[in-house]
Amino acid sequence: MIDAKKILEIISAIAKKIEAEKNFLTQLDNEIGDGDHGINLARGFKSVEEKLPSLADKDIGAIFKGVSMQLVSTVGGASGPLYGTAFMKAGNVCKGKMELTAEEFVAAIEAAVNGVKMRGKAVEGEKTMLDALCPAYKAIKAGIDCGKNLIDALNDGVDAAAAGVEYTKTIIATKGRASYLGERSIGHQDPGATSSLFMLQTALEVLRRE
């Protein structure tokens, strides 16, 4: 079970993590993009953090929706509408809920990942955040389906996302700015996949705190 308070903690921790990794994410984006991924996301999550107090007693759907709106209106790069759509779709699934069962958590992640696919018109294997998110979702779902608790399943998800980030080093980008580099994008890890991994890692850390 994850309650709304825990969700707020996770989001606040993600905001701090993104701020801490801002330069690293930006440097990754310098190599195969326009060098703003960390700056974009840090700006977005700073505004999310400022919004959090007003979401304090809201249900999880409303919290995710609030996060989405802040990201969409402040990020300024592709990760804005992409993560914005992810949180919006997760919000739809969690509408009115003050807590989530493991199954509901899986459904929220599924909706989020499908949202990114829809918004980016992208699939796994194109060197984007989906190369972290899709394997993570599959691992989490597989874990829950075979009876693991949420923390263990999420741990599998984080491992799968980390492997996905490594995988992005080996493939050519076919979506987003990095696709302009063609073969020269090989050897570099995708910034968006990396920020997705950070978000999942942070969620796991917060759930482990208890």
Binding site: G76, G77, R119
Partner: protein, 129 residues
């Protein structure tokens, strides 16, 4: 007349595209949505929304975007406002804007304008393949 929004990563680019489109259609309802609120490069949800507002009429609006977040952000604006008569066009930005502006002042309706701009392939610059 169908309104035209030029959504791009840079206000200068959006205004430049409009400048060039006006060479052929001085009175076309064009609005720029370029860069972010503070002038940085990127795309702004609010700027796109405001630009739509500026040129909206019952005739509808078309949005031309440069790439990436400009397209995705425009999509999100459209999903939120739920107007049936606003469309994102699949076309090159400069040539598409010129064509759209000309068709708009001609009084072309939204569907017809969209079809003409999207099928014109105006980015082909050299005559032989």
């Amino acid at each position: 007349m169908v309104g035209i929004v030029i959504a791009s990563h840079s206000q200068k680019l959006s205004e430049g595209v409009i400048e060039v489109a006006r060479m052929m259609a001085e009175n076309a309802p064009l609005a720029a949505a370029g860069g972010m609120e503070n002038g940085d490069l990127g795309t702004s949800y609010d700027k796109i929304l405001n630009a739509i507002d500026k040129v909206y009429s019952d005739d509808g609006v078309v949005i031309l975007a440069d790439m990436g977040s400009a397209v995705m952000t425009a999509e999100m604006v459209l999903e939120d406002i739920e107007y049936e008569n606003i469309k994102i066009l699949n076309c090159p930005l400069v040539e598409g804007a010129i064509l759209a502006a000309m068709e708009s002042v001609e009084g072309r309706d939204l569907e017809d304008l969209a079809e003409r701009v999207e099928t014109a392939h105006p980015s082909k610059k050299l005559m032989d393949d």
